[in-house]
Amino acid sequence: MRTLTKRVFNTSRATAETTAETDQSQEAAMSEPLLALRIESESTGTGEAFGRLEGDEPVARDTVTPRPARENSRHAQAHESAIKHVTGRARYIDDLPAPHGALHAMVGLSDVAHGRITRLDLGAVMEMPGVIDVITAQHIPGHRDIGPVFPGDPMLADEEVSYVGQPLFAIAATSYLEARRAVKAAVVEIAPLPPRFDPVAAADAGEFVRPTHVQMSGDWQQALEHAPHVLEAEQFVGGQEHFYLEGQACLVVPGEDEGVTVYTSNQHPSETQKLVAEVLDIPFHAVTVENRRMGGGFGGKETQAAPWACMAALLARRTGRAIRLRLPRAEDTRATGKRHPFHNRYRLGFDDEGVILGGDMTLIGDCGHSPDLSEAVVDRAMFHADNAYSLGAARVTGHRARTHMASNTAFRGFGGPQGMMIVEQAMDDIARHVGEDPLTVRKRNLYRIGRDTTHYGQHVDQYPLMVEIIERLERSSDYWQRRDEIRAFNRQSAVIKRGLALTPVKFGISFTAKHLNQAGALLHVYTDGSVMINHGGTEMGQGLHTKVCQVVARELGIDFESVRISATRTDKVPNTSPTAASSGADLNGMAARDAATQIRQRLLDFAAEHYQFDREGLHLENGKLVSDIGAVTPAVSWGELIQAAYLGRVSLSATGFYSTPLIHYDRDSGQGRPFYYFAYGASVSEVRVDTLSGEYRVERVDILHDVGDSLNPAIDLGQVEGGFIQGMGWLTSEELKWNDDGRLLTDGPATYKIPTFGDLPPIFNVELLEGHPNSQASLYRSKAVGEPPFMLGISVWSALRDALSSLTGYRVSPPLDTPATPERVLMAAEALRAGPANVGASR
């Protein structure tokens, strides 16, 4: 139960160390049987785990099948498209063959951040070679506003423009190059209005895209008044470009009626179906949206893939020809929103031990020009302003500032990472103030008995798991020994400074918009025994389709290869939620399981009657009908059973459905249980900083991450590694820069730096925590894995602050805005050298 999955990159030295560490951690784990036992009994709690859950919500079907078949789903099955990915046979949107006569669409974008359109003359565009059609807002028959949740996003700007890169018009031409050249012939005049780029100024002026929300637990003012120590600080947390490898792209084919079929690189086909139908002013059933896979999404295709499909659909209906729309990278980057930059502040009171008693936190999200998903993004930032720590009596305020930027949107973590950053900064600051190691202070502040309820009222039931993860990682990474070595090294070394940090992650799983926590699936068994599963989730490389096929194979007792998955289509499974919030497998896996369970029940009922077996004890295993009560003779294979069932006129098709139980949240009181459960993890990062140039390297990273009972350890490890690297990129090298006119200067790979293979830490130990199933009745007791590991990257930022702090003998906690580029690290080092008076954060 305690065997570890260990992954080591690099050297023989690391391998040798790893072996030693594994032994050590196993030994150490066994020396603490009490803690382990407590967690075991809490997390698998026998009575609740295998039955149905009580509650006023729709409930999951019987949630755990205590059968050996379990091994099948735990298998580290390769990604269903792995071979196709590496051979280039996997088809993305731009690879799809278009019907004869297809046209290429291109979009004209605003060069002005804020202003009124005084002239939009497209006569010259129409005259350009190859141009067939041109559309502006005036040509839209239906809705002009395609805001996904709240209004505010015109498909094409009508009178006012709100950011550089906003679509003004779209054209269709006979070739891609002609379309790109023709766009440049437009005559656009915009009378500029004063733009606003500073979210703090916007918040001060009350310029919000959505109302401010507040969460409160206890009397925070009194807590501050009576606290022996009070600290306050602020931080800027930068945004992040999604940098999906496949850019925004779609292919729209007009149908024989009034509708269209839309092939789109898209995390939310149902929403795109709705918006396309509303723009065209036709019923939803006239629009079919399909996606087989994306070349990455990361949230950037949750709402912001829809506009391009809407434009292409309108051009397709007007011209009667298929339309391809693929944005050039620079335009894609300028026109679409990013991760929200945040300005955060805290004022926290704590005792002599550094334990937080209470205080006040303010989070200002830079939402850009429209609401998009910002209501929920800033909510999630607020829900994670505590990360893994009890804030005591606290007030958390979240503002949604309106600026003249592209509308910032979903991005892996969905505000959670930005919220966590403020409390992680506070942990470091408090530790310096009380003269303790930051890890000591972090551990003292973790949720525990008597401090187990969040500032929004959710009980944290698995808090001992966080404690265990940290303690195990402390040992496996040799945290304290390395801490001593590093302190000694830093005393000797004037310029090169090393830093070390361990940071935890506690991430809430569920859409905070309750109605999105539902999913559907459609399962067919054909008469040769092959199975087709379709569900509402989309594949963006994360392995969702692989996991869902594994679920179906396991439920039907057949091998993985017998199950095939087809493209996500709105005419197969309707009214779906976006593949987002890490919930793809949780929701769609459950829906697929529901469908497969129905088919299995039908087949077993049929078999009992047809073959005259005892229904009790019949099940499907290894492609055969099996009975726990006596042998099934003669043997009945899966294929024979299906044939017999077909001839016996049994329906071999089923729809499945799932909705997450128990969750609720009341915005008026700011209290509830928005999350079905929490996923946990922790990471230790070590950095080496040249404090005269700001240049640094991440030398070693150790990660221990909780995915409950893993659905697929290979895929989950990949998600943990990739999430960490992407989180590290967000906080270190990925810098978005705009000029004074609001034009994004970092609009492609030449200027915007995502980490590459060479940026991997040379020692990178990643483990999945084993033996701790989800305490909630999730899919086979697994946990969501898409977003939580992203925030493991925070340890790199904290380690940089640790290295910098050594310049002052660990007395001062240096402010370090993000991304912590070498430039920012150098500035921080210079400020520290100039004396504490020049350091703003800690006092």
Partner: protein, 336 residues
């Protein structure tokens, strides 16, 4: 992707005969195929030269090293002769691109590689190099990565190669073959400055094929170092790079070679800086003076002024490392 006629050449003569102004040779294809997909290059005929017998590396009697045009970047970087006598070249090759690309890319292909200027690679942008007379969007655009040396009003595109920077410093000769026979061109004369005709990038005429590159004999005893400064640790072009090679005469510099990458419109040899090094003490002040001279004529654009101090610093650091290695080398020779 646009259609083109594909054929395979089985001899150098055969290949040279096929090449006209609307044709292109393909070897590794790591630049050409991308640019065809991007509508930047539109050859009607593509002649595959991979079957030609140009894959040998051989030491000539005069001490020079002759490298076949089709030797891959990987093979060249790991060739024993190169590692032993031209570590500078090996370092530069390994600093470029990724393993996968180096496995495909060839020596002559690297010499012929096109600029990574984003406006050159965007068929809808104005670019005099791609479309003479259309203008230069880089001048008023995002030009952080463009050149500070050798630019003209017509073009400020950087030559992106790392390998060529090392070859410029080492000194080399290109062998060009055509139906009329062979001719040789000094490496430094092969690439052209953009001037008013940025679309003419080099000295290769229609009907000519690079068949070999011959390196000058190595300096000895000498140290050399290739320093590449970039935005991230791998798979990235240089913001500035410096190839330095020098021999020592006691504490004085004997011979010196310096070339820059990432900042010039061609692989940028710095003869004036070299002259300022020869006969001077091998110390930081000397290196700094040489660096100053090397960048004397540099002209920044709106977003790339930082490249000038960066290039200076890269020269100083590369010379410092080269000196250290030259001292080590000298000690070893002394012991023998």
């Amino acid at each position: 992707m646009r259609a083109f006629a594909y054929s395979r050449a089985d001899s150098v003569d055969h290949a040279a005969h096929r090449i006209t102004h609307d044709a292109a040779f393909v070897a590794g294809g790591t630049t050409l195929l991308d640019l065809i997909k991007l509508d930047v290059l539109k050859p009607k005929n593509v002649v595959d030269i991979n079957a030609l017998p140009l894959k040998r590396v051989e030491r000539l009697d005069d001490g020079r090293l002759r490298i076949g045009a089709l030797v891959t970047n990987t093979d060249l970087a790991h060739h024993p002769e190169v590692k032993r006598h031209y570590p500078l070249l090996s370092q530069a090759l390994l600093a470029g691109a990724s393993t996968q690309l180096r496995n495909m890319a060839t020596t002559a292909g690297n010499v012929m590689q096109r600029t990574r200027c984003p406006y050159y690679r965007d068929a809808a942008a104005a670019c005099n190099r791609r479309e003479p007379g259309s203008g230069c969007d880089a001048r008023g655009g995002l030009n952080r990565l463009n050149a500070v040396l050798g630019g003209s009003d017509a073009c400020v595109a950087v030559h992106p190669s790392d390998m060529c920077v090392a070859m410029a410093a080492i000194g080399a000769t290109l062998t060009l073959s055509s139906a009329d026979g062979e001719r040789e061109v000094a490496f430094g004369d092969f690439h052209r400055l953009p001037g008013d005709t940025p679309h003419i990038e080099h000295d290769l005429a229609d009907g000519e094929l690079i068949t070999a590159i011959t390196l000058e004999p190595p300096l000895a005893p000498a140290g050399s170092y290739y320093l590449k400064l970039r935005d991230r640790a791998s798979y990235e072009f240089a913001l500035a790079s410096a190839a330095a090679q020098l021999s020592l005469d006691g504490e004085m510099i004997g011979e010196a070679r310096v070339a820059l990458g990432g900042v010039g419109t061609k692989p940028w040899r710095c003869p004036d800086a070299e002259a300022a090094l020869v006969g001077q003490p091998a110390q930081i002040a000397t290196f700094e003076r040489a660096a100053e001279i090397a960048l004397r004529d540099a002209t920044p654009l709106e977003h790339n002024a930082f490249k000038i101090p960066l290039a200076r610093q890269s020269i100083v650091r590369a010379l410092r490392e080269a000196t250290r290695l030259a001292r080590d080398e000298g000690k070893q020779e002394g012991q023998v």
